[in-house]
């Protein structure tokens, strides 16, 4: 009875016609879904019922406001239900929960809608994918976005799919980019004000990365921002964002670029053929601060390497609703380890980038690692939060955790770097250039913070990061662009004789100091959640899922899930009872034991 009343109240509040409530009879009465309004999405940070966005809210704080499960009772956490998917392959999904219905994804871009109270399956969507799918690190999917009565998904064959949230039926489908050229999707989209925002995978395949906005109702493309501009040269930076020497041979790079700009006989022919010049222009900047000089001549083919320069986007943008800007980070240049064919800073790879939400126009950027030859891409999603500036004054800041092992703190206004944290993992021989034989450097290419999202506790001013320590050697090899095929420019190799481990690190982002650190047996990948109950939750490759005191890092509870827990946890409540939910499917990239479980926990 109570439930019926709640359901009626909910639908009344959301202005749903009564008929609609009838239509969802097939769903369990606890799993009834209501429309997700823009207002609900805007206020997700204070919603202690639902988990509406991949990283909690538009600021991506991963701070869940419910304190029912807390430091005093977490020891009594036990599984409420376990749902087994049909796909036993790595799980990276962030469960999304809307009024008692949960949406999770599995590898190969499948979606399940579940009753969040019982784990009962409501529907299962298996995309009919084209034959061409590529990936770098497993056929993963990180989850869906919800808005209105739709569920949005990016698939491995680079399609954007909108599903009816009640039935899983396809409402529309759009190709994001051509999978035969190495484009694919693993990230969850973000929906805001009728726009579906999504980037692309393919940094290991010589793509040209982008962030695109699609119309949420129709799937029509609204804008595209190329993460690699035609002039990707930049300022010939000799140092990384923290002032470390990159050991670039800038004279050699400039000579390569000059040679590339020399038109060949073939280019000359092309030029006379295509005089109307919708043709590409390569602007060249050769000193810091100079405005790009553009010549009307089409760029010689050799200088058009911006078309294959990589710059994928792994994770959701943070959305600042006040300024109507988005902030996201861009992945590595292609090919990963061989810089010889891509002179210049390779903008905007390995960067934080901010755009205007409505137009997709560039606002600001900060490049962490110009001309990267280590696959040190920026992948963990940025977080918008209040931070202390250099003088201690509170400003709107942006946090990003790097594969370098630093948490970077930016001023949201102009993307500039306010500070960076103490390193969370050992750094050695940075930045030693890759060699033919293999050069050792720490962190390894699976190092520091991977795509795993941060969690934050805004009251404590702490950011929680999960880290990898996996020593590697870096080898370089030269090969031409292979038409959308795997293109690494070398190899990174784990050094089998060296110890590997992980840690959870709490960083005070107002000072950059590490507050506490807990070591784990294995390198960590997946994600973390902080709650108002004074807790953080994170899983490990060996199947352990643990809760810690977010103030001190002391472990308070653990559970063996039987397969690697390498996905970001979420939290929600149904009928006034709080749950914690996480996927246990292992991880392909680190070869952690695979499984197929979605596990929801509660305190009884």
């Amino acid at each position: 009875m109570k439930n019926l009343v709640t359901a009626l109240l909910c639908s009344a509040a959301l202005g749903l016609p009564a008929v609609q409530a009838q239509e969802i009879k097939s769903a369990s009465r606890y799993g009834d879904l209501s429309t997700v309004s823009q207002d609900m999405l805007n206020r997700a940070a204070s919603d202690s019922q639902n988990f509406l966005q991949t990283n909690g809210d538009y600021n991506q704080q991963r701070y869940y406001p419910n304190r029912q499960i807390n430091t005093t009772n977490v020891s009594k956490l036990r599984p409420a239900w376990i749902f087994q998917t049909e796909v036993k392959e790595s799980l990276e999904t962030s469960p999304i929960v809307v009024n008692g219905t949960m949406f999770v994804t599995t590898s190969f871009s499948q979606v399940y809608a579940l009753n969040a109270r019982t784990g009962e399956e409501l529907w299962h969507y298996v995309p009919k994918m084209g034959p061409i799918t590529t990936f770098c690190c497993g056929p993963n999917n990180r989850g869906v976005a919800v808005s209105d009565n739709m569920v949005y998904l990016g698939t491995l064959d680079s399609q954007l799919v909108a599903l009816d949230a009640r039935s899983g039926k396809v409402m529309w489908k759009t190709e994001i980019a051509d999978p035969e050229e190495g484009y694919s999707e693993t990230m969850a989209p973000t929906v805001v004000d009728n726009k579906v925002l999504i980037g692309t995978n393919g940094g290991e395949y010589g793509i040209r990365g982008f962030m695109k906005a699609f119309d949420a109702k129709t799937g029509k493309l609204i804008w595209t921002f190329n993460t690699v501009p035609e002039n990707s040269v930049g300022v010939w930076a000799e140092k990384d964002a923290t002032g470390k020497d990159l050991h670039r041979d800038i004279a050699a790079e400039k000579a390569t670029l000059a040679a590339m700009l020399q038109p060949t006989a073939a280019d000359q022919k092309q030029k006379s053929g295509a005089a109307d010049s919708a043709a590409k222009v390569v602007p060249v900047v050769d000193k810091p601060g100079a405005t790009p000089s553009t010549s009307a001549a089409p760029a010689p083919k050799a200088a058009q390497f911006y078309k294959t320069l990589g710059g994928g986007i792994w994770q959701n943008p943070a959305v600042d609703l006040e300024t109507r800007r988005i902030y996201f980070v861009v992945g590595n240049p292609s090919p990963d380890l061989d810089g010889s064919q891509r002179p210049g800073d390779n903008l905007y790879t390995d960067s934080l980038v901010s755009l205007d939400l409505d137009t997709g126009k560039y606002v600001c950027h900060l490049q962490y690692i110009p001309h990267d030859v280590w696959d040190f891409d920026a992948v963990s999603p940025p977080v918008i939060t209040k931070v202390a500036d250099k003088d201690g004054k509170p400003i709107k800041g942006v946090l990003h955790a790097g594969k370098t092992g630093y948490v970077y703190v930016h001023d949201a206004k102009d993307c500039s770097l306010v500070r960076y944290s103490e390193p969370m993992v050992p750094q050695e021989n940075m930045w030693t250039l890759p060699t033919k034989e293999g050069a050792r450097m720490l962190p390894g290419a699976n190092g520091g913070v991977e795509w795993s999202p941060l969690a934050t506790d805004p009251n404590r001013g702490l950011a929680y990061a999960i880290n990898l320590h996996q020593p590697m050697t870096y080898q370089v090899q030269n090969s031409p662009y292979p038409d959308g095929k795997l293109w690494l420019g070398g190899a990174f190799k784990v050094i089998p004789s060296e110890e590997q481990w992980g840690n959870i690190t709490a960083v005070d982002y107002n000072t950059g100091k590490i507050r506490w650190q807990v070591k784990t047996a294995q390198p960590m990948i997946g994600g973390i959640l902080a709650t108002a109950g004074g807790l953080i939750f994170a899983g490990e490759g060996n199947g352990l899922f643990k809760a810690y005191d977010s103030e001190s890092g002391s472990p308070l509870w653990s559970f063996q899930a039987g397969a690697g827990v390498n996905a970001p946890p979420s939290s929600y409540s149904v009928e006034g009872k709080q749950y914690i939910v996480v996927g246990a499917g292992g991880n392909t990239q680190l070869d952690y034991k695979r499984g197929n479980s979605i596990i929801a926990f509660t305190v009884d």
Binding site: T133, C136, D483, A491, V494, D591
Partner: protein, 193 residues
């Protein structure tokens, strides 16, 4: 051994030159695919150890190989000749056709314990299974390796390594980064899976 193989290939190739135009003219997919069986096997068991299994192989992978043979990005006299006359739609159709067939069992011996151990260590260094997936089943454009013909695996890995097979520089880099004895163990392990 080498000589025998050579003649086998030549006679097969001759057969194919005759068959190529037949494939181009063929209407039904069964007719198109019939040409392939003379080498890739009536029941999917290849007629020579250096010829790969294509029955049950991943569809995206099969298509891209045919595309690359046609473009010359992957060089093999026989297959370049065969792919030359195929249009994109033919290639897609053939890829779908063979991918839907069952993977044949070549009854190759399981690898020795020592090889298994060495293969697993090699795998943990470069993460072969991060792409080829659990038990090396592949997906999409990443090929299945488990149970593939041992001699073909050895041949194609050596060709990746030397750069002779140049249609996937990523695999070339990884094969070069893996010491030869590790690759040998890997081949025995994969063939015996």
């Amino acid at each position: 051994m080498a000589v025998r193989r050579f003649t086998a290939c030549v006679s097969a190739a001759v057969l194919v030159w005759a068959g190529v135009s037949a494939a181009a003219r063929a209407d039904t997919i069964d007719e198109k695919a019939a040409v392939c069986s003379s080498c890739h096997g009536e029941k999917g068991v290849p007629t020579d150890k250096n010829i790969p299994i294509i029955w049950g192989q991943q569809e995206g992978y099969l298509y891209l190989q045919l595309r690359d043979f046609k473009k010359g990005a992957r060089k093999n006299e026989i297959m370049n000749g065969i792919a030359e006359s195929l249009e994109k739609d033919d290639m897609k159709e053939l890829a779908a056709y063979f991918a839907a067939k069952p993977w044949p069992n070549l009854n190759q011996a399981s690898a020795s314990d020592a090889d298994v151990l060495q293969a697993k260590t090699a795998n943990s260094a470069v993460g072969c299974s991060a792409c080829h997936l659990d038990r090396f089943q592949g997906t999409g454009t990443v090929p299945r390796l488990s149970g593939q013909s041992h001699d073909y695996l050895a041949k194609t890995l050596a060709e990746f390594r030397s750069g002779e097979r140049a249609n996937n520089p990523g695999m070339t880099s990884l094969a070069q980064a893996t010491p030869e004895p590790d690759l040998k163990a890997m081949e025995a392990y994969l063939a015996g899976l």
